[in-house]
């Protein structure tokens, strides 16, 4: 079980046990001299509770930079950026060299368009740790965006030195070189990306541009042809960024839960997916597709009776869903209720003529 799933399971347990009490709509953080008010009106209950919990932990230990950082990270994970910055700064007041706060504070500045503040935050990190990988990466991106390509190249090279063999590093070095019109060097770097991540579509696109710049239009068009025809190409580069992942893992709103659930589902980790879906449903109790996904996941887990309960609810919320009928049919079939299963499959076909899975089931049952 992954760390994220463990965290979700734990939180789900806490919520299900009802250990989190009621909360005020406006919560004042009064342990600091500069009082901060967080208006949580309208926030999803899960998010409100997370924020409330963060504030209570600060109240218990107002001199803890870690507690301030944790609340900042919760706010950050839910894109409440102005307040996240406030709490990152409070953490930094208590511990000026706290790397996660400095780094993520910089990112929040950047999201708000406060580019100079972002750069200053990251410069502070590099003052102590000149080779800090992801800070160099972020600064490189900043310089790239502001048209300072030599500076960007320097940062990306430092990032690459600390992450040998990183496709992301070669990608960014290649792009900076292309902007500097050092096309041959750029091509060499971009080719290294393709050796590591041979299906990376954006890099292939940039390579085609680089060839065009060298005057080799034929080669560029050859790549273009591949881009048109090869469906297996995709955006495959991911920045490994532990400092950011630690923050984003704190997102517990419905969207993030659903996103994680879908990811688990794709990996076949249905129990983890179910936990995330149930968490999401706490925030959105009347969401038909969510009820359906819970039901479907329960079918995958062979928990047919519970699946039927959730699919019943999904159908109450949205009677037009062919999938909900189909999966309830599957669950009923497994429970031995052949006739009602057939009725569900037929309803699914009625709602979505040609529904392939329902058609297949009815054929198997000799009903088509």
């Amino acid at each position: 079980m992954s760390r994220g799933c463990r965290f979700a399971c734990f939180l789900c347990g806490v919520l299900l046990l009802g250990m989190v009490g009621p909360f005020p709509f406006n919560i004042a953080s009064s342990q600091q001299s500069d009082e901060t008010t967080i208006d949580v009106t309208g926030l999803e209950p899960l998010v409100r509770r997370a924020i409330t919990g963060g504030l209570r932990r600060i109240e218990k230990n107002p001199q803890s930079h870690q507690r301030h950082y944790e609340l900042a990270a919760i706010l950050d994970a839910h894109e409440i950026q102005e307040l996240a910055i406030t709490y990152y700064q409070k953490a930094l007041t208590l511990k000026p060299d706290h790397l996660p706060s400095l780094y993520n504070c910089g990112l929040n500045y950047e999201f708000l368009g406060r580019n100079e503040d972002a750069r200053n935050a990251w410069d502070r990190i590099l003052g102590d740790q000149p080779d800090h990988p992801t800070t160099n990466f972020r600064l490189g991106e900043y310089y790239l965006r502001t048209g300072q390509f030599e500076e960007a190249l320097t940062c990306f090279k430092r990032f690459g030195s600390s992450r040998p063999g990183s496709a992301m590093a070669h990608s960014r070095i290649g792009r900076a070189l292309l902007q500097l019109n050092r096309v041959t060097e750029s091509l060499a770097e971009l080719q290294k990306v393709m050796e590591i991540a041979p299906r990376d579509r954006p890099t292939l696109i940039t390579i085609s541009q680089a060839y065009l710049r060298t005057g080799n239009r034929e080669k560029a068009q050859e790549i273009q042809q591949r881009l048109e025809e090869d469906d297996s190409l995709h955006d495959s580069l991911v920045l490994l960024d532990p400092l950011r992942a630690e923050v984003l893992g704190r997102a517990i709103n419905s969207n993030s839960c659903i996103a994680r659930a879908e990811n688990y589902d794709r990996q076949g980790l249905y129990a983890c997916a179910l936990t995330e879906y149930l968490l999401a449903a706490r925030g959105r109790p009347d969401h038909a597709r969510l009820a359906q996904r819970i039901g479907v996941t329960l079918v995958k887990l062979a928990a047919y009776a519970r699946a039927i309960e959730h699919l019943d609810r999904a159908i109450v919320l949205d009677a037009s869903s062919a999938d909900s009928h189909h999966y309830r049919g599957l669950a009923r079939l497994q429970m031995g209720a052949r006739e009602s299963a057939i009725a569900d499959f037929r309803k699914s076909l009625q709602l979505q003529p040609g529904h392939p899975l329902s058609t297949e089931q009815l054929e198997k049952l000799g009903e088509l």
Binding site: E44, R145, S171, I205
Partner: protein, 608 residues
Amino acid sequence: MIDGIDTATAMALAEHTATIKLMDSTDSLAPQQPSKALLWSAGSSSPGMRVPLLLLAIIALSSCQSGTDQPPVSEPPWLVDVTSTTGIDFAYHSYESGSRLLPAHLGAGLALFDADRDGDLDIYLVQGNDRLPATDKQTRDSNRYFRQDAPWQFVDATSESGLADGGFGIGATTGDFDNDGWTDIYVANYGPDVLYRNRGDGSFEDVTEKAGITVAGLTASCAFADIDRDGDLDLFITQYVEFDPKIRCTDSVGQVEYCGPRSYPPARNILLRNDGTGTFSDISTPSGIASSPAASLGICCEDFNGDGWIDFYVANDAYENNLWINQKDGTFVDEAGILGVALNLNGQTEAGMGVVAADLDGNASTDLFVTHLDMESNTLYRNLGEQMGFTDDSGGSGLGTTSINYTGFGVVALDLELDGDLDLLIANGRVRSGPKRSGTQSPPPWDRYSEPNLCYINSGEARFIDGEDIVGDFCQVIESSRGLAAGDIDGDGDLDVVISNIEGPARLYRNNAPRIGSWLKVRASEEKGGPPLLGTTIHVQDGDQIITRTISSASSYATAIPAVAHFGARDPGSRVIIRWPDGDREEFNNVDWNQTIDLYRGEGKKVE
């Protein structure tokens, strides 16, 4: 070739002038360009110093200006909201009831065009709808047509014009599809689109069915262009997504929010070929256009590779952009990737909304500027010329990081102060709820989607500085803006502006910018009384520089712009070179400035 001007044309223009200036960042400091030097130094100074320096520069320039007909006016603001005195009382209604259904936040564009051929511009404003499915049309709040009867005096002529479409409106485009000399209008809807034929008597006829048009998806922007050089206008229609009202989304804190494009299946764009008999055939699939499903919004068309055939650039939301290069046989190939306009410089897709194709760096080739979501920047793709494609110059141009906190939709490139280079105006408005900005004029919930617009003054060769304090009203009103068009509404030679807002009034801004140079408006037609030849490129001289503009009616976001080329110039030349849509060139000499001229094909001197 990618340049909008080739060597022969450049040489022809250069006969009586100095050598064409090469692109060089130091040129903006060259002694022969004192104003630009001042403007540029203002750009590098502190924000507080920019405005005084700019105004000083403009006033200084104006005082020593020779050859201009009108004395400069120095008092700001450059754009003044005159809506209340114009007779235009239109507000786009989203019918937002808390469900946050995607078509509502798309808002709507507009059409700024001369519908009645009386020489001034009329305005068609597109309206939303509260009906789902959108096949139901309602009339209590239809699109409206405002006819301009005198400068800045508009009359609501919706009823008599027959243009009161009650569909779920998104946008409009204009063009004379039947070649009768009267500009027709195509309305983009969520639901069935509508083609209106201009009867020429002040009224329009719904000819959608007669023309064989059955477009019924979620259409955003459209463009009329003659793709096959058969003399009639074909139609490119962007489709956003396969919208499903049952799909609902929430934001990062779990509140109901508009879904992004990736929540729905992508849609396929549509290309309709004009059969020349008043009907259109759907050639989306055989042309190749339908091969790239995406979430398309903005469109512009131009002969991007200079081969005499019209191409299309499509701004896609969260998908790679397309640059459809015309293969001259009814098919198109997407070359956005190799030409460097599919992604940003980090290789990322962005949320393309509005787009403008224009020569922003003054090197006589067409650049592309695309507006995007907040947390992304708007992107300037600068044309490198000589078949080298484009480069993302958002950072170096000053247009990148300054836009990262805004969501851009409509965009226009216009020479506000007639100094020979193009400035930029951008209509902003969020698609995700955010903190309410102080001073917002939108009602809830749109107060949380409102943003100020952006204004950039070109300080020379695509280096832009924030013009908020100079331009004034346009950048200070905080609304949720979408459609944006520029045109010479009052006929005084400079470009005025119209903007549409969600749950807010459409606004008209009169250009009061101090005039640095002279102006020229050029209409180009096959013959007298004929329709404007969309895709015609026009080159004029400004001292030792060449200014290039292309006639198009499709630009911005879901919006139609006047099919007229507008020029400002400090040191205007008397020679005009036209590159007709099929690549043929003619030159016209002894052209006087500060007027509107009509140029007809075959009346100029052929340029080889």
